[in-house]
């Protein structure tokens, strides 16, 4: 009988009745051929590959991560409760040791969703990985988590959520932001003053193939993971680095994705993007499932696979190597970089404009973080979406020190509700989610 070497959980939720719009890449059809391939290959019959029905996430699961503007019901649809719930279900199966590893093959995706949510950007409303991670931190006491985002687009939402968290290592490998949405994820983006170096971006040039991506995994990601020693490794498993993807320019293959998964050994993988729904997804997903389960995937191949056609040029290789060297250098110097960055500041500000391409929303954010040596730091976000709502949101991290807790409450208590549509407090330390506004 066919048996998986690693007991692997799978949530497969193709949401066959949900689309952003009828011709949008994020539509009903997206996982149809993946389902056909997975079913026809008989992957769900393999002993040790266990399919789970997704649970729904709760309101609190979402609010632990996000400030939803104006409220949760405005940004969540049924399918978001399910796709985040699918990730949570898999994480619970892994944490409860029902399985060694798990893959949430769900849609809609989430890695472009920031902490503050006014609407959808990059096809994402809420960050399903972050909701999952914060749930297992709360329920299972997990502390150190590494997220490796292998989607072709920079995982800017996940980066935003963990920007100040020294206990979360966020690594994003993606096509260079100068050539692709969302236009961020550069080498210089290293994390906030309390978590310098815990955000790592590996922007790769267009036309990078398996050679380059696997080089980054072997030479950069694995050594850094080894040093960081996470309790859990999460892979945001976007599949749009594939050579046939219609909205990106990379040259990765199904074999490459399977090998990446074998090397990375993620405890939990969560599907993100990937829109070559016929030519790539059926094969990439089958490859990832087999690799997670520790099974042979050497016979797996796209019908039009031609290694010569997608081989990367020497110029691309040089660029990849240079980028990887620089990433490692930053990692090794992260303490010095932090000192230089923080200077003598007690509070530091960040001012930025965020564009929601999916919903066409322009948000302006002013962020204030308390510089802190003992925790992630109290965080205040003043967020105004043009023509929509203006809110103030306070975040007190899980392991907050007393001073940061005081700072967070002081900000919240003194916030003048006449200036804002809503004022939020997310006190992760005290497990308090609350809000106030003029009307109440």
């Amino acid at each position: 009988m066919l048996r998986a070497r690693h007991k692997t959980g799978l949530v497969f939720f193709p949401a066959f009745d949900w689309a952003i719009s009828p011709t949008h890449p994020e539509r009903e059809e997206r996982l149809l051929y993946t389902q056909d391939q997975v079913f026809e290959e008989g992957l769900l019959d393999i002993e040790g590959i266990i399919e789970y029905k997704p649970d729904l996430v709760t309101k609190k699961d979402v609010q632990r991560v996000h400030f939803c503007v104006p409220d949760l019901w405005a940004v969540m649809t049924e399918s978001h409760f399910i796709s985040a719930g699918g990730a949570k279900t898999i994480a619970m199966a892994v944490m409860d040791k029902q399985v060694e590893r798990g893959f949430a093959l769900v849609r809609p995706p989430g890695h472009h969703a920031n902490r503050v949510v006014h609407g959808a950007r990059g096809f994402c409303n809420v960050n399903i990985e972050a909701i999952m991670i914060e749930y297992i931190r709360k329920a299972y006491g997990v502390n150190r988590v590494a997220i490796v985002d292998t989607d072709c687009h920079h995982g800017d939402g996940t980066q935003d959520i963990y920007w100040h968290d020294p206990d979360t290592l966020f690594i994003s490998i993606h096509q260079d932001g100068r050539t692709l949405y969302p236009g961020s994820g550069f080498l210089s983006e290293l994390g906030g003053p309390n978590a310098v170096g815990k955000t790592i971006n590996i922007p790769l040039p267009p036309n990078t193939s398996g050679e380059g991506i696997l080089h980054a995994i072997r030479e950069v990601v694995l050594p850094i993971l080894k040093e960081f020693q996470p309790e859990i490794i999460v892979n945001s498993a976007g599949q749009d680095n594939h050579y046939s993807d219609p909205i990106t320019n990379m040259n990765f293959s199904a074999q490459g994705y399977a090998e990446l998964t074998t090397l990375l050994k993620p405890d939990i993988a969560v599907l993100e993007g990937g829109y070559a729904i016929e030519g790539a997804l059926p094969y990439v997903n089958a490859g990832i499932i087999l690799a997670m389960a520790g099974m042979d995937y050497s016979h797996l191949q796209e019908p039009d696979f031609d290694p010569v056609k997608i081989r990367q040029s020497p110029e691309v290789s040089r660029w990849v190597h240079k980028t990887c060297d620089k990433v490692l250098e930053n990692w090794h110097q992260r303490r010095q970089l932090a000192d230089v960055y923080r200077g003598d500041y007690q509070l530091m500000n960040r001012d930025r404009d965020i564009y929601y391409d999916t919903d066409n929303i322009h948000e302006h954010q002013q962020e204030t973080i308390r510089v802190c040596d003992s925790c992630g730091g109290a965080l205040k976000i003043d967020s105004a979406a043009r023509g929509l709502k203006h809110v103030l949101a306070m975040h007190i991290p899980r392991n907050a020190c007393e001073r940061c807790r005081e700072q967070g409450y002081q900000w919240y208590d003194s916030a003048d509700t006449t200036h804002y549509d809503k004022v939020y407090l997310q006190d992760r330390h005290g497990d308090v989610i609350t809000e106030k506004s003029q009307a109440t």
Binding site: W18, T23, E28, F39, G42, K53, D296, L300, P303
Partner: protein, 564 residues
């Protein structure tokens, strides 16, 4: 009148059903080394003194093919498999005569690599030289496009006695299961054909010319001639017979649990509004996972004659049966002995039952009454716990749409129907230990044979249309059609129901009382670039398992005459 015959491990139950209800019921011992004699004896005895002209059919549920597969008593079968990229097809090897050949088709049914005729012919020669007479042919995604299987079948021509093509066996996607199912069909084909031809011929010489139908594990029957192309659909029909025997007595507006408690095992199933739940994939037999449609049933090793042992101060019941209860001269204590001691039932030698329970009481360090109580309670509790787990598993089955997940209701049966030899005895314990209403199925000892007799003809059609490629196929039905690009889901549903109607009638259904049901109908816009390039439509429809039209008066009479 209709004959229902159900071959069990120890007994074969036969009933004769007429408008007046249960006309006659008999039990004959099952001779597993000569099922032919068993079946023939059963049919002869039940028809003694009856004018065959009044018998419209005999529906048989046998263990013939099941036993052959489980015991590995099957002929050598050749398999020719074309897989293309994906899982290594070597992983699905069925035996020594398993050959993989070139050829690949993708998930939409497009050819990637053609079949190589010379290679196929070489394989055919080699199989022929080894004396192989039965061959299965399977290609990956053949249910999207059967061209490769058909081509290989054509190359084989008439060199072999029977060739089974995978796409004619089942419509669902699952290549490894299609291989296993095709293999099993080829494997049991000769024994099935010979057996039933012999039955039909013997009956004919005795002047019993009634048509023979065969029960399937999905609780439906098919005509004997239709079964020749689907012989593996006769496996594991026993539990289905019992479930069908309880259908007439199930509530029509809620879910209920069916427990068939036998000597060795208890089979469990679920009826929702009187309709049995089907296993979404297919039955498993031995190491073979198949695409053979089946009722969702679970069998556990607890029954009236299960061996009772005391280990480390704990009672263990089953999973084996070493013989009858000690009260009937068996070798070890059983739940039946406990039942007799407690006075819940009575039979056999009371002294022997006492002796049986005394040995358990001694090992437990307790008195007779307590030991008997504990054995009986544990048997009942184990059955209820396992039934609970089955319900949990059914409720945990994944769904793939927001609607189903959001609206999906949980199955919570509040009634239990019990049948099988010790049914009334166990019912008292089940009633006490569960919160459900417990009912004993009328004529509980032969309800299985009644179920076989009254089951209707069932079948299923899987239909697939791709308007971009302008094709529609229902591979099992050998149906392929060019369709216009404007083809809609409604067109597909109509075509599916039409195919289903024809299939059901060919398999033996009553054309005037067909209950067709669309199980699934989905249409996906296929968007390429910014334009809708076509629609990908999938429809599945079935004749769901149930009782033949006009069974009500029969069932009522059976009910009236119960417990008499």
């Amino acid at each position: 009148m209709i004959i229902g015959l159900d071959v069990g491990g120890t007994h074969t139950d036969v009933v004769l059903l007429g408008q007046e209800g249960l006309v006659r019921q008999i039990k004959v011992p099952t001779n597993s080394s000569d099922l032919f004699a068993t079946v023939l004896t059963g049919l002869e005895k039940i028809t003694e003194g009856i004018d065959p002209i009044h018998i419209s059919r005999a529906v048989l549920s046998t263990t013939l093919t099941t036993n052959r597969i489980v015991q590995g008593r099957i002929p050598e079968v050749g398999m020719i498999v074309s897989a293309g990229p994906g899982m290594d097809p070597e992983l699905f090897r069925t035996g020594p005569h398993y050959h993989t050949v070139t050829g690949a088709i993708d998930h939409r049914g497009r050819e990637i690599t053609p079949i190589d005729e010379d290679q196929v012919l070489k394989v055919a020669d080699s199989l022929k030289n080894k004396g192989i007479r039965y061959v299965g042919v399977v290609s990956k995604f053949s249910v999207r496009n059967p061209a490769h299987e058909v081509a290989i079948g054509d190359f084989l021509g008439d060199r072999f006695e029977k060739v089974f093509l995978g796409h004619r066996i089942a419509g669902q996607l699952n290549f490894p299961r299609r291989i296993a199912t095709t293999f099993l069909n080829a494997s049991v084909y000769p024994v099935h054909k010979d057996f039933f031809e012999a039955v039909v011929n013997s009956l004919a010489t005795k002047g019993l010319g009634m048509p023979i139908r065969i029960l399937k594990p999905d609780g439906g029957n098919m005509r004997f001639d239709a079964s020749i192309d689907h012989p593996a659909q006769t496996i594991l029909s026993g539990p289905a017979a019992s479930v069908m025997g309880s259908v007439a007595f199930a509530p029509k507006d809620e879910a209920c649990l069916v427990l068939d408690i036998g000597g060795t095992t208890t089979d469990m199933a679920v009826l929702v509004n009187g309709v049995p739940l089907l296993d979404p994939m297919g039955i498993s037999i031995g190491d073979h996972k198949t695409l053979i449609r089946s009722l969702e049933t679970v069998s556990i090793g607890v029954g009236g004659d299960s061996a009772v042992r005391v280990m480390d101060g704990n009672i263990h019941i089953g999973p084996d049966r070493l013989g009858m209860a000690m009260a009937y001269g068996g070798p070890v204590p059983t739940p039946t002995d406990a039942i007799f001691l407690l006075g819940i039932g009575d039979g056999g030698d009371p002294e022997k039952a006492r002796e049986a329970i005394q040995s358990v009481a001694d090992a437990l360090g307790t008195d007779l009454q307590d030991a008997a109580n504990r054995i009986f309670e544990q048997a009942c509790r184990t059955i209820l716990d396992e039934a609970g787990s089955m319900i949990d598993r059914i409720n945990a089955k994944p769904v793939y749409t927001v609607h189903e997940l959001w609206e999906g209701h949980r199955l919570q049966p509040r009634q239990i129907l019990v049948l099988g030899g010790p049914a009334p005895w166990f019912a008292t314990g089940l009633e006490r230990l569960s919160e459900s209403r417990v009912t004993v199925v009328p004529r509980w000892t032969v309800a299985n044979a009644i179920g076989a007799g009254l089951a209707r003809t069932t079948c299923e059609v899987t239909f697939f249309a791709d308007t971009e490629r302008e094709i529609a196929t229902a591979p099992e039905e050998n149906f392929t059609k060019v369709i216009p690009s404007a083809y809609t889901k409604e067109d597909a549903i109509n075509a599916t129901l039409d195919l289903l109607r024809r299939k059901a009638i060919a398999r033996g259904a009553n054309s005037e009382h067909l209950e067709l049901e669309v199980i699934e109908a989905m249409s996906f816009n296929m968007v390429r670039g910014f334009y809708t390039a076509g629609r990908n439509i999938r429809v599945t429809a079935q004749v769901k398992p149930g009782l033949i039209h006009g069974y009500d008066p029969i069932a009522e009479k059976i009910m009236d005459s119960s417990f008499t």
